[in-house]
Every structure is written in structure tokens, then in C-alpha cells.
Symmetry: C2
Subunit: 222 residues, 2 copies
DNA sequence: AGAACATTCAAACAATTGTTTCCAATGACG
DNA sequence: CGTCATTGGAAACAATTGTTTGAATGTTCT
């Protein structure tokens, strides 16, 4: 069942880069196999189908991430002995977990671009797959955030978390294009870690923003 | 040259919905023409190619938007007689302009989903096309934001604007999926305008967030 | 009316897609 | 040795893709 060495890894390495660059539908199996220098039939032989290959590419990132993130949350909870964990520490822990995983493998840029694609592209199988992998950690993380921000209404916190998810995924997945503009306009080269540094106060401020004015009563009075 | 009535509009109406639902590569011309009840060749006859059709779909949103947004900024500048326009008013004006345009046409959801796709999918022709259409208004808007936030370093403002762009596009383009979750978990049905109401204080707080700690000197000291 | 033009239609085009099959070569392990 | 899983190669598969063609039809103007 399990492959240890070459062909499978070669396919995954090539596929994730091409997927990140051009999307799933725009990347053909022949693109992958020719660049990876493996036979065309190898993909169907080892993975079964293109859909399964796509999921395998994600699994190689998500599996280590969930393990690591759970462990980091374990340690964080132990350190606070059942007390409330401050929001900044929760966000910091998440950022660290996200940053650690691709460091062993490929660039964070590829990982984030894949996440962005998963959200915007292919409506079907991928979203479900991600939900199954991400679901448990994200639920746990959400609950900790709830305890850290007791003053926030549940719905408000839900939406703000997704606002910030959008900020991070959008920025990091479109990093190349944005970096080009920024570099041209401000001469300054930004690294991913530089961006995370800039993101931190913004995310914290966004989560702690004042509550919106209550919704008007269905139809605004004249 | 100009078609007034049926076939062209029918194609555009159908194409924008299908594109928004499934992406560009995943939507075939036969999907569009069969659902629009027009002949397959009609697309190439009226638009020339699929790429041109995609751009036409965007033009139908972006052209009215840029006109309207420029006008709104004109009025805003006139009202402040050369003085600095507060950030809240700038954001409010932009939100209003974005909300107004699709109201005449289709749902804001489709518009935002298309914007999201333009950013995440197909790196080539579309991004350039959007840049040409959006470029002038966005530059003008950016300059006004600069005057409204003189304390922000230029690079910091650039990134924060894109952070917020990511928040809005990501949230509104993935609205359907998020709405399903929110509705299931909190029983509350959210409208687009409800979401904009929630976004406002978050965006303002994010833009006014404290500056990040300065970047470490290349390699952190032990 | 006829001429000129714009549009619609069915059919075919060439190219590319994911997938399968058959066959030979390789290596590992019993 | 022989068995079996893994590779590589080449070919073909059925299906779908965007695009083009040429004839039929409609519309418009003189």
C-alpha cells in the first residue's frame, strides 16, 4: 500500500507546485508527469485518479499541520492550567503552527496558494475533504477563542474569524502578485515572515474592534 | 458593432452565473450556450473567443463601477473642499459604490465571486485586464486614503489595504458556504448588507491598528 | 422587389483531456 | 530460482474542449 521513495514523491512535489501556479483544472496530468519525469500512467497507478492526487497533495500538508497544531494547543492549555488563554497567544500559536509545517517541506507560499484554491475553486470534493481534515482542529481553536473573547456575541466572533481567515489566505496566496507591486512601488522586498509580523497587530485589532451598530429593523424608517 | 438585445445579453447573464459557480476553466462554452438557449457558435461570433467573453463579463460590472466610484469620489472631494476626507467616509463611499452597481444587475454575490476568481485563478490575461480597469480608481482611492492616514508608513498602508481587500473578497465570494455554516450553527440568516455592517468596524479597526514591532535585524540575536 | 448585411444553426474541426491497456524491464524477497 | 510489486514506454480509449465552416435565415435599407 504505502510507497516510500521516489515516483510517488516526485509526482506530489511536481503536482503541488503546478497546482499552486495554475490551479487544478488548468494543470493536466501530462504536465505533471512530463515535468516529474515519470510515466503518464504512474498517476493513475499510484493514486487512482486525478481527484485522489489532489487530495493527496493536501493531505501531505494538512496531516502534519493538524498533528502539530493539536500538540501546540495541548501545551498551551497545560501552561495555563485550565485558565483562559489570551487571544494574542492563541493567534500566535496558530501562526507558528502554520509556519512550521511547510518549512520542512516546501514554501509557505505553495501551501497558502493551495488553501486559497481550495476555497475559491472546485466547489465539490475538495471542500468536503478539507472540512474533514480541518474540522476538528478548527472547532477546538474556535472554542478557545470563544473563551478568550467572552464579550463577543457568538455570531460576531464567527464572522470575524472568517474575516481574518480571508485576510491571511488572500494575502499569502496572492503573495507573488502583491509582492511585485509592493516592490515596484516601495522598493522594499517583503518576506513571508515580514508579512506575518505586519498581520499580527491588524488581526488583533480586527478581532477587538467595537461591535457594529445593531441591524436596522428589516426596513429602515424614513 | 453593438448588439442591443437578446443573444449577447443572454450569453453574458448565463456565463457570469456559471463562472461564479464553477470557475472559468470548469465552465465550457457548451454549458453556457445550452443553458442560455443559444447556438454554440454564437459565443465566438459575438465575442471572438472564450477569453474575450470572460473579459466582457467583467467589463459589464467594472465599467459602471469605475464611473460611479469616480463620481462618488468627486462629490466627496467637493464636499470637503480640498480638506482631508476621514477614513470612515472613504470606506463608506467605496462600500456604497460597490453595493450600488450589482443592484441594477445581478447579485453582489456573483460580482464578488468573480472578483475572487480573478485573483485566485488564471494568473494571466484577466489580472492584466482588471488592472487596466481598476487601476485608475484604485490609485485615486489609495491616494485619498494616504491623506486620511498620514501617520501610517506607505508600505504599511499598502499592505493593510490589501489585507482588507482580502477580507472583503474572501468573505463575500465564499458567502454561500459560510452562510450555510453560520445558519446551521447560529440559526441566523445573514444578508449581504448585514455582512457589510459587520465588516465596517472591523475594517476601520484594522486600518487603525498599532504599528507592528520593527523587523528584527535579519537574524534574531540569541 | 432586390441587394447587403447581421445573425442563427448544425456539423465538423483539431486538439487536449483523464483513463486504460498491453508489454517489457527492473528490483526485492521468499 | 521464481513471484510479485513497482517502473517505464507507447498506444489507444472515449470524452470533452474551443474554434471554424458554410449554408440557412433574418433584418434593414434603397
Amino acid at each position: 500500500m504505502a510507497q516510500q521513495p521516489d515516483t510517488v514523491t516526485r509526482i506530489l512535489d511536481t503536482a503541488e507546485v503546478l497546482f499552486a501556479e495554475r490551479g487544478f483544472a488548468e494543470t493536466s496530468l501530462r504536465n505533471i508527469t512530463s515535468k516529474a519525469k515519470v510515466n503518464l500512467a504512474a498517476v493513475n497507478y499510484h493514486f487512482g485518479s486525478k481527484k485522489a492526487l489532489i487530495q493527496a497533495v493536501f493531505a501531505r500538508y494538512l496531516d502534519p499541520f493538524t498533528v502539530r497544531f493539536h500538540a501546540a494547543l495541548d501545551e498551551l492549555e497545560a501552561r495555563h492550567e485550565g485558565g483562559v488563554i489570551p487571544l494574542e497567544e492563541l493567534l500566535e500559536t496558530m501562526a507558528r503552527s502554520v509556519l512550521e509545517v511547510p518549512a520542512e517541506r516546501h514554501s509557505l507560499k505553495v501551501f497558502m496558494r493551495l488553501l486559497g484554491l481550495a476555497y475559491s475553486q472546485a466547489q465539490g470534493h475538495l471542500r468536503r475533504y478539507i472540512q474533514e481534515q480541518y474540522g476538528s482542529v478548527f472547532t477546538r481553536f474556535t472554542e478557545l477563542v470563544r473563551q478568550a473573547t467572552p464579550e463577543l456575541p457568538d455570531a460576531e466572533r464567527f464572522w470575524r474569524l472568517h474575516f481574518m481567515l480571508g485576510t491571511v489566505i488572500f494575502t499569502l496566496s496572492g503573495l507573488d502578485a502583491l509582492r511585485d507591486i509592493a516592490e515596484k512601488d516601495y522598493g522594499e522586498h517583503v518576506s513571508v515572515r515580514d508579512l506575518v509580523r505586519r498581520l499580527r497587530p491588524v488581526v488583533v485589532a480586527a478581532m477587538n474592534a467595537p461591535l457594529p451598530e445593531p441591524a436596522p429593523v428589516q426596513r429602515e424608517a424614513g
